[in-house]
């Protein structure tokens, strides 16, 4: 910040004010946090199973696509029927896009890093193709986006003063469910066991292949919901640039949240605030938004760095030497 000729303190204040200054800004922070939490869970659960899901972005796009198709295709249904169907479609679409790398990993031993990244690009270009062609709104003024979704498929605003939509409730509920699944169910135990090492898990009678496919499919479904929430709660139209990299931010959210559903919610809120704050600071004091990406990377490096085993070892050694230093004095008395 100092390099850009902006006083860091002023910049920092602008970010905090932009993120939390007024009720509507708090609302925007929560709205931005919604896809981050959902996509963050989509990284956190597979991470417990020893899988790094970098495919959030593609799963978001396919989830949003499936949800939009159901939202537009089943127009005319009442909200209590239509909305759940749209949510299911978002989950299903993401699940499909998560199950592919899961299957490739379990059956063919393909590294999920490579496959998910490739699937991200493929998903993006599929959506791009559709919103430039078959799904393009004829009255859209030439913009590559779909027709606006009907009101019966939207996530309604629940707190008018804050402009917060139902999406955050969906995200919070799923965070609780994820926590429960991870720690209180057989499947959660199997996931964590496979994360400790597939051979050991197999020895304990766990079907590691099935667990891997299911975990990545579940993760994909959660990311798909992030895409659904962004279209149905915020943008109301499918376009090909609707996600500003939520799927990649999600990796940071999940790791800073220590792959723990509660931690993911907190980290999601923090990075939602950062993104929202940086955006409004770019308007108020002309600070580039890209600063938020730099802060994200630094936070992640700081968190993983401070968790390093090397530090743990140095601390332990220091404590031991100190104990030794103290000992002789104690023996004198």
């Amino acid at each position: 910040m100092a390099f850009a000729g902006i006083d860091p303190w002023v910049g920092f204040k602008a970010i905090v004010q932009g993120a939390l200054g007024t009720p509507s800004r708090v609302g925007a922070t929560v709205t931005k946090a919604t896809p981050l939490i959902l996509a963050g869970l989509a990284v956190a659960l597979p991470f417990r199973c020893g899988l790094l899901n970098i495919g959030g972005e593609g799963q978001i796009y396919i989830g949003a696509l499936a949800a939009t198709l159901v939202a537009l295709g089943l127009d005319g249904l009442p909200w209590p029927v239509h909305m759940p169907l749209v949510i299911l479609a978002g989950f299903g679409g993401g699940m499909l896009w998560g199950a592919i790398p899961g299957w490739l990993r379990a059956r063919l031993k393909l590294n999920e890093l490579i496959t998910t990244i490739m699937l991200n690009y493929i998903a993006f270009w599929i959506v791009s193709y559709l919103v430039h062609g078959a799904m393009k709104d004829p009255q859209g003024g030439g913009y590559p986006w779909s027709v606006e979704i009907p009101a019966s498929a939207t996530l309604p605003i629940i707190l008018t003063r804050f402009r917060i939509n139902l999406g955050i409730v969906v995200a919070s509920v799923l965070a609780v469910v994820s926590h429960f699944v991870l720690w209180n169910t057989c499947f959660g135990f199997e996931m964590r066991a496979v994360g400790c090492g597939p051979p050991a898990a197999r020895f304990a009678g766990i079907n590691a292949e099935r667990t891997i496919v299911l975990t990545l499919a579940l993760g994909g479904g959660l990311a798909g919901l992030a895409g659904m929430a962004e279209i149905m709660g915020v943008q109301y139209r499918l376009s090909d640039f609707f996600s500003p990299g939520y799927g990649y931010d999600a990796v940071v959210v999940a790791l800073v949240g220590q792959s723990n559903p509660v931690g993911v919610v907190l980290a999601g809120l923090f990075f939602g605030a950062l993104r929202n704050g940086a955006e409004s600071a770019s308007r108020s004091i002309a600070m580039p938004t890209s600063i938020s990406l730099i802060i994200q990377a630094l936070t992640l490096l700081f968190v993983i760095g401070s968790n390093s085993v090397v530090f743990a070892r140095i601390w332990r050694k220091r404590r031991q030497t100190r104990a030794r230093d103290v000992d002789p004095i104690a023996s004198i008395h």
Partner: protein
């Protein structure tokens, strides 16, 4: 339509472009081969390339000499690699996570710096590395324009293929490097300085990735665009796997992906009645299919991704 397509695929233009587009993939994947053979996964390739692309433009912009741009690109790659090395070797944290952080940070940093230097609207064109026609060879029919009228970065990258292969497979240092990547404990027990070898490997990888990044900004476009590497760093990771961690196979794989890139762009320019958005997805789809088709054939270095902490 099929005729135009075949004509396109056989045109000299297309073959020149294929070799050009394969260059950044090959450069970055050569670096990644060195790093992975030493046991360090470097997912941060994309970020190193992006920093290289920006540094290349800055170097050329400030000095007016594209060769200083290339040098700056290499240095930028090394600097980013230094962070990767410190975290993944000295602090022994998850290498993939560090790489992710570097990718995100590099995207933010390069966007930030380019706006700072060039402003929001301006995108100055700088002197790039123009095609260098080699004497005699460049005058050969057909082969001349395809192989010997390319940019210096292209020659340099392809010259590095046998060099890297030789160093890895035929020198003592290469043997140590591979030992460190296969079994660091054993290597350490016979006195190989594991951490130092890994540091050198990662920094070399950064240098090559930085050079590969400069291709985008000094050969292809002569300017910097935010996020201009467009995921090529990730494709380079796939090139390493499909190329089975050997420079020569990596070169062939990079050529294949370069051709796909060239095809997607050429058909777009030709305005043939093809779904161009889907064509742009083709390189990624083919990467996935080729990768899936290689099942069980490729074997990664045994200690890949495993940090080594001395007791």
């Amino acid at each position: 339509m099929l005729e135009t397509l075949i004509q396109l695929l056989l045109s000299i233009d297309f073959l020149v472009a294929s070799i050009r587009f394969s260059t950044p993939l090959l450069g970055a994947s050569l670096g990644e081969i060195i790093s992975e053979r030493a046991g360090v996964v470097n997912i941060g390739l994309e970020g190193m390339m992006l920093c290289g692309a920006l540094a290349g433009v800055l170097g050329s912009y400030m000095t007016g000499n594209p060769w200083f741009g290339l040098l700056a690109a290499v240095l930028a790659g090394v600097l980013v690699a230094l962070i990767q090395a410190f975290f993944s070797i000295t602090l022994a944290v998850d290498q993939v996570v560090v790489g992710m952080a570097l990718n995100i940070g590099s995207l933010g940093l390069t966007t930030y710096v380019s706006r700072l230097v060039f402003g929001l609207t301006e995108r100055p064109r700088v002197t790039g590395l123009a095609p260098l026609k080699l004497p005699f060879l460049g005058d050969l029919p057909v082969l001349g324009p395809i192989l010997f009228n390319q940019s210096a970065v292209v020659y340099l990258t392809y010259l590095l293929v046998p060099v890297v292969a030789f160093v890895l497979m035929r020198t003592e240092w290469g043997l140590k490097l591979r030992a460190v990547g296969e079994h660091p404990e054993a290597a350490a027990s016979v006195g190989v300085p594991v951490a130092r070898v890994r540091y050198v490997a990662v920094l070399l990888c950064g240098a090559l990735a930085g050079m590969a990044g400069s291709f985008f900004s000094l050969v292809q476009l002569n300017a910097f665009v935010e996020g201009m590497t467009g995921g090529r760093g990730f494709i380079a990771l796939a090139v390493v796997i499909v190329g089975k961690w050997t420079p020569r196979r990596a070169a062939l794989t990079a050529l294949l992906f370069g051709a796909l890139d060239a095809m997607a762009l050429r058909t777009q320019a030709l305005a043939v009645d093809l779904p161009y958005h889907l064509l742009l997805a083709l390189p990624y789809l083919v990467t996935l299919l080729v990768y899936a088709g290689l099942v069980g054939q490729a074997r990664a270095p045994a200690a890949l991704g495993r940090p080594f902490v001395r007791d």
